[in-house]
Structure formats: C-alpha cells, structure tokens
Symmetry: C2
Subunit: 264 residues, 2 copies
C-alpha cells in the first residue's frame, strides 16, 4: 500500500462523476491541505474546497506535501464562508469527533461512504466538511450539515490528523463502489496442481519415508500419512510447487544415500 | 473526527490484548514514524517495531509528529532484520500496493482487520509489515508474510503516504471489533414529539393557512395538507421543536395581523 510510486502523477484521473467535494474549513497548515489532497486523489476525488485557509494560497508547503496530487490543489476553490462553499451541494456531511448536543443523525465513515455513493449515483451533489486542526468544526458549520460523521476510535486518543480524517471518509467512499472481492489469490500465472500430481507427490514422499524408516511403526503409519497429507493439502500447492517438492525429496534421499555410502 | 484535542495524551490506553504489532521496515523519515504512531494509538495499538530506521532513533521529528502518541514511540523496539522483528509472531501480513508474481493470498484492509481480530481473539500474536516510503517492501520481506494486504484505491494514483497506509490497517482492525452501530441519532436529551403534539401542530398550521387563504382552493386542499404533513413528518421532530414551530406560526400570524391592522 505504501511506497508505490510506479504510477506517474500526470496519469491521475479526475473525480468520477458523483464523487463528493471535500471542504476544509479554516485549515491552519498548508502541509495538511497537501496531504489531504493526496488522500483524496488516492481515492479518485478531486473536488477540494477551502474556506479561509490561514496560510497564503496557493501554498508551497501544500504543493510539496501533495506528492503528485498537485492537480487537486490546482483545481481547489477558496471561499469566504462555509455557506458559500456548500451552496451547490444537496447533501452535506460534517466530520467531527465530538458528540454534540444537537438533534442530528450521526454515522460512521462506512455508512457515510455508502450514503455518498448512493446520493452520487442518483445524481445528487454531495460534500463533507472538515474543521480546523486544533478545534474542529464550530456549531454554526455543523448546522449547515444534514448528517454528522464520526469514526469509532480509541476513546482515550480520538484526535485524528486532518488528512487522516479526510482519508477515512474518501477511503470508505471508494470502498462503497469497489467491485473487487475482499480476498483473492495471486498465482503468478501458475495453476493449482491437479489431484493426480498431488497424489503422486504423496506416494513419492511416503515411499521414501517407508524406505528411511520414518513410517516404520506400522500401527501409527495410517495416522502419520493422513497428517502429512493434510498438511500439504492445506498449502494449496501449484503444479510447479509440487515439482519443486518432489525435487526436494529426491535431493534429500540422494544425500542420505550418499551419506550411507560414505559411511559404508 | 479531526481536531478533537479534548482528551489528554497521558490518558492513552495501551494496546488491547491481541492487537497486532505494526512493523515499519527501513522507514526513511522520522516524521512518518511519528504520524504512524499517532494513527496506531488512534486505533488503540501500541506495539510499534522498527527495522533499520534510516534516521537516528529516538528521533525528535518523530516525537513532534506523534502529537500526543509519544507513549507508542517510547515503547518502540528497533531490529536489525525483518526476520527478527517478526520472530515471535504467528500470523504476519505484508502491506504493499503492487501485485507480485507470488503465490500468496491477497486481502483488503477490511478482511485483514477481521483476520487480525479473529487471530487475536484466539490468542495468536500478529503483525503487519510496511515497507519504506519510496520503494515498499522487498520480495524477501514479502516471503516472511503469510498474506498480502492491498487497499483498493484509484488505479492511477495508488501511492499512499506511509502513515495513511498504517491508519487504514489499524482502522479496519478497530472497526472489526467495534460494537457501536453504523448510525445513530443524538437527541441532546430531547424526546421525539408525541403524535398528539404533532397533530396539534398540523391543525394549528392548517387553521392559520385556511385563515390566510393559502388553502383556499378547496379541490387542492387535501393534497396540499397531505404534502405539508409529510414534509414535517419526515423531519422527525422533537417535542421542543414542535413548540418552536408553533411559536413560529403564531409569530408569523401576529406579523400578518399587525400588517393588516397597519394597512387598514
């Protein structure tokens, strides 16, 4: 996940139709704007809006921290008020870690991601508000939102870095539209071994273990054979791996036989 | 989510029993170690292991970036090899963005989080390997892992910041053990209005709209009343909110009546 710079920055795609806007209210540090932009583009989002950034804009520290997501910064729009920044949106979420004394729906980032997908698929513009690093969103900004999004985190240390909070929401939005399964197996072009190949391997191993004396206690032989077979069965062997293992047996036996000859 | 510094750093809890170790292999920047430590503690994890950090250790930039998660840095252990760092672990995941030509199980961070929870609940020690910022894990490190974890991200811009990658895995681990629902409603101590209160409000509104002439076209009255009632019904009004709305009606009517008198 980290450290893969194989793709060129200029290959970055624009936001898919329907992706939410990310709105940073009173962001204090240019660097956090840059890392937020990178997190957005990691998830295919490009609509960044800034309300009263404290530092100059455009900002060189933001550009350095964006690490290839400069396209998001170049397109970012700056607003004087949160109300202006959300004016064209139909559904607004507010990210905050604090439970507020407000009658407001509160969702996890996961539910937020699902909601944003559904709204986007219906053609409705959406956005998510994030407050300044130290203090978070004020209640007047929360009142502009339909829904609060709060991540379930360590109750003794809830304070997320701004870009980390942005990442969680963008990540959950991306996951809600993901087609790939939770799990797969990369085989590197190889095929799982046929059961015949595996059976021949078992027979090869057991023949040599009979010869070496490993399976000499006849009463225990069936259970030992079964244990060995189960062990290798679990490995989900590929055809070339079975060939490797047979080579290993042959090699080990050769060593023993050489040793036996040497010891004669 | 961001910007909540209400909890004191010293209130940080230690890793729950069974939480995974986070192993940074060849991390280049102290700052990324610090932000990774913060992400870990956000999710209640404290077992940080460093293999050959490039910069001096302990590292002042790491301490500054940890923002209150210094406890994780203080406990961090430094190793010369990845093999030493994982020696006591029973299940090892390797985080990488690149599909490799290896016969290896690949999971999403979500499945990884579920697996880590399950292993931890069974008392098995676990860990997740993260490679250096620029290049990621080398194949020899991958060979020490049972499973690869790769986040589904924008294929044109997959490169996650190191601490962001750490956050996604830690976050999914935390979520896999979360008891809270995806959605709730904060009511600030208020109770949803009774249907009697709401009905009285409807009747109040409709009486005044009859008086003002808004509902004067008798053929359309039933559908307009139904639309208005549905609109307010959807708002899920609290008892005090119904009282506020009744005050609004009274106030508006008073204004009109005052206006009418003034216009006499």
């Amino acid at each position: 996940m980290a450290g893969t710079n194989s793709t060129k920055p200029h290959a970055a795609t624009v936001s898919e139709g329907g992706g939410p806007a990310i709105i940073l209210v009173d962001p204090q540090l240019g660097e956090n704007i840059g890392t937020s932009a990178r997190a957005m583009l990691n998830c295919g989002l490009t609509d960044l809006r800034l309300v009263r950034p404290r530092e100059e804009w455009p900002n060189p520290k933001a550009a350095a921290a964006a690490s290839g997501a400069g396209v998001v910064l170049e397109r970012a729009r700056v607003y004087h008020t949160t109300a202006e920044a959300v004016a064209d949106l139909r559904h607004v979420f507010a990210a905050t870690g604090r439970g507020r004394d407000m009658n407001k729906r509160i969702v996890t980032p996961r539910r937020c991601g699902e909601d944003l997908r559904r709204f986007g698929n219906a053609g409705d513009t959406c956005g998510v508000l994030f407050g300044p690093e130290r203090s978070g969103l004020v209640n007047d900004d929360l009142a502009l939102a339909d829904t609060v999004v709060t991540a379930s985190l360590n109750p003794a240390f809830r304070s997320l870095n701004l870009a980390q909070a942005v990442l969680l929401v963008c990540y959950e939005w991306f996951q809600a539209g993901r087609a790939e399964p939770e799990e797969r197996l990369v085989k590197g072009g190889a095929k799982p071994a046929t059961k015949r190949e595996i059976l021949h391997f078992f027979e090869h191993l057991e023949r040599e273990l009979d010869a070496s004396g490993f399976l000499r206690i006849s009463g225990k032989r069936p259970i030992m054979v079964r244990n060995l077979r189960n062990m290798f069965q679990r490995a989900g062997l590929m055809d070339h791996e079975v060939r490797t293992l047979r080579g290993v047996i042959t090699s080990l036996v050769g060593g023993r036989e050489r040793g036996r000859k040497a010891g004669d």
